[in-house]
Amino acid sequence: MNILFFGRLKDIARGRTFAPPVHLRTLGELRDWLAASDDLLGDALRAKGVKIALNQEIADPSRAYSPSDEIAFMSPLSGG
């Protein structure tokens, strides 16, 4: 599984790799597990406007993922 972080979250994750337990099923469960690993990361993951992308599509926390997926945690976007 490829876990990516963007924006402020990328600074906080600092290139660490995560090995989530295999019993996790949804994006929300993955987010909560990541948040529990580090207070700073936890605060940033729960901040307003954070979005999750599953294989480059915005996805709800209730969505299930599989080990081959690309999952991105994205701080609020600021283009333009």
Partner: protein, 146 residues
């Protein structure tokens, strides 16, 4: 056409190429966003390769459908930019004036809140992330009410 690139671009050359050889166009509206000077020494934009391009193309299609455009153009840089450099160009070609101008406003509002970019600003005081404001979100949401 949607393009995301690290290289600087010349908005006027891009606009000229975009408008060239068109038939029956009555209106070309455009917007160029530039890195402001002042305290800013540099602006850094991260993107999500693949996803960012696709989201911009989706925003363009929405504008073309909604305003009946002949074509739309978005060029957006990523990477490090200096004051005075263009960040983004959005343009719309239409038969008439109002749809072209509205489309450019729409494109910019959606790019601001829906395009996967993350913006960091470097000044003498350090480096800080810039995130969308409530005003940005309100501008984007206003289009959904129409």
């Amino acid at each position: 056409m949607a393009r995301v690139q690290a290289e600087p671009f010349d908005p006027n050359a891009e606009l000229a190429a975009f408008a060239r050889g068109r038939e029956n166009v009555g209106a070309l509206a455009s917007f160029v966003g530039l890195v402001r000077g002042g305290d800013t020494q540099a602006l850094h934009l991260d993107h999500y390769p693949g996803f960012t391009e696709r989201e911009i193309a989706r925003i363009e299609e929405a504008a073309v459908d909604r305003f009946g455009l002949m074509d739309a153009l978005v060029i957006h840089r990523h990477g490090t930019m200096r004051p005075g450099e263009p960040i983004v160009l959005a343009a719309a070609l239409a038969a008439h004036r109002k749809p072209a101008l509205l489309a450019v406003d729409f494109l910019m509002d959606y790019l601001k809140t829906d395009a996967p970019f993350w913006k960091r600003e470097t000044s003498a005081a350090g480096s800080t992330w810039i995130e969308p404001t409530d005003a940005d979100r309100a501008a984007r949401q206003a289009w959904e009410k129409d």
